[in-house]
Amino acid sequence: MKYLLLLHSPSGAPVDQASQEYADTFAAYAEANAAMAAAGVLLDCAPLQPVASATTVRVRGGRTLVTDGPAAEIKEQVGGYTLLECADLDEALKWASTIPAASSGWVEIRPVVPVSMPA
């Protein structure tokens, strides 16, 4: 099964790439991701630009509406994602708990609906 892990960090990611904090965070994520890659479960992962960069699109009545910002004003925003291929939820839980965001914030695990291409 595929699982999309949504990484929430209330404090946000360190911005200053020259800072020690940035280096530490980067290293912590690199270590967790390397372990997942070595186990063969990691499909994809990346941090996301801050929510200020969000753009929302809606198509209504044939018209495309593009707005600045996220769709809803919510305090906590997704700061990154990890896409895993795991045997079951327990395996996904095990890996999710190794991601730094699980300690500094939380990780929401969403099973991906398997969609097959129409023949």
């Binding site: 099964m1 795991c86 045997a87 079951d88 939820l89 327990d90 095990k94 099973p111």
Partner: protein, 393 residues
């Protein structure tokens, strides 16, 4: 989460009424549930005569409607032709108590798939509308399927944590039956029996886990007092006032034996400690023979596993019994302001009892009245009201 995982203790120390309710007090228990494999798991669980009674009633009203979830082999296949291996049974237990499911669903799933109860029967046992139960069942079933919760025994590093969840579910089945609720005696007894059977079944599958044996011991030692807990008209009888000759000797002996075995493992845990506290009561020929000093020590030890004010309150009551009421009262008064205890009626009942022992009747009446304003079962309300009348009269 910590408040949910908190085990509940044995406020029996001062009063049985307090104790019995305390067994469930720290755990929120909204009755709901979910369906699973209708395969009866534990030998004998589905065969209780008492359970058959309710089953017949339920069948008459409605056939089981909620869809069964397929776990392992197809649910239609007969268990004799297709027995689940012990490993599968164990995996099923862990699946039902998976932390990704809410607690009421875990309990209902356990009753559904391990005890072979229908969703309608579970609704009847927990006194919830069948439609409510069916909806919960469907939701839990969907969650299991969609999130990829599988029937499997957790890996060793996860086993202890997950086992605690399984033990909690079984404990909740028992306490739901044990606490005085709005249900009939019959219904309550059935849940106690189911809880004990589940614990025994788990002990058979995990014979080397002292906490599992500790749970079996705890349930046996508490349930041994079942018939002595109420009088002819269903009123609660305090532990100190119970006719101890009515306690079930066989259950007490078995509980003590299991507890001793578990303790010999040298891996203590909260269930073993709760069982040890229950054993302090069951081994006392008379209430005044109770080894309260030992109970104080055991609660002190329990605080290491369950550092919460409810256990502290229990310890305070034991202190009051072993030392003197005013020492215990001092501790209780200090705990009274704790946000977790403010709306906990049993703290006020315990305070009232100590005040009563100290011959401070007006204050005792006040404390009982405070408890009456908080959620109590019908039997507890009767008990508290009678106490007020005694003190006022």
């Amino acid at each position: 989460m910590a408040s949910v995982t908190r085990l509940v203790g044995d406020l029996a120390t001062a009063e049985d009424a307090v104790q019995e309710a305390y067994l469930a007090a720290a755990v929120q228990w909204p009755a709901q549930g979910a369906p699973a494999n209708p395969r009866a798991w534990l030998i004998g669980v589905a065969r209780h005569k008492a359970l058959d009674t309710i089953r017949r009633d339920v069948r008459r009203r409605e056939k089981e409607s909620a869809a069964a979830i397929t776990v392992g082999p197809a649910p239609g296949s007969s268990s004799s032709a297709d027995p689940m291996t012990d490993h599968d049974q164990l995996g099923l237990i862990f699946m039902c108590a998976h932390p990704a499911l809410d607690l009421p669903s875990q309990v209902a799933l356990t009753l559904r798939s391990l005890c072979g109860l229908s969703s309608t029967e579970i609704a009847a046992l927990f006194l919830v509308p069948e439609a409510t139960m069916a909806k919960r069942l469907t939701r839990a079933k969907r969650k299991i399927r969609d999130t990829g919760i599988r029937l499997r025994v957790p890996e060793p590093e996860l086993l202890g944590e997950r086992l605690a969840g399984v033990l909690r579910v079984i404990y909740l089945v028992f306490t739901e039956g044990h606490k005085a609720s709005t249900g009939t005696q019959l219904v309550r007894g059935q849940l106690c029996d189911l809880g004990i059977d589940l614990a025994r079944g788990l002990a058979r599958l995990l014979p080397a886990e002292p906490e599992v044996a500790g749970l079996v011991a705890l349930l046996l030692l508490v349930d041994a007092r079942r018939v002595a807990r109420t009088d002819d008209v269903g009123r609660l009888v305090l532990l100190e006032d119970q006719d101890r000759t009515r306690w079930n000797k066989n259950m007490i002996r078995e509980g003590e034996r299991l507890l001793e075995q578990a303790l010999r493992s040298g891996r203590p845990g909260p269930y073993q400690l709760h069982a040890a506290i229950a054993a302090c009561h069951s081994t006392a020929p008379r209430a005044e023979d109770t080894d309260w000093r030992q109970i104080v020590l055991l609660y002190g030890e329990l605080l290491r596993y369950e550092p919460n004010p409810v256990v502290e309150a229990n310890r305070a009551i034991a202190v009051a019994m072993s030392d003197n009421p005013s020492t215990g009262l001092e501790i209780l008064d200090r705990l009274r302001g704790h946000p977790q205890l403010r709306d906990w009626p049993h703290l006020h009942i315990a305070r009232a009892d100590l005040l009563r022992r100290l011959a401070r009747a007006p204050e005792a009446i006040d404390a009982y009245r405070t408890a009456l304003r908080l959620p109590l079962t019908a039997a507890e309300q009767t008990f508290v009201t009678e106490r007020i009348n005694q003190l006022a009269g």
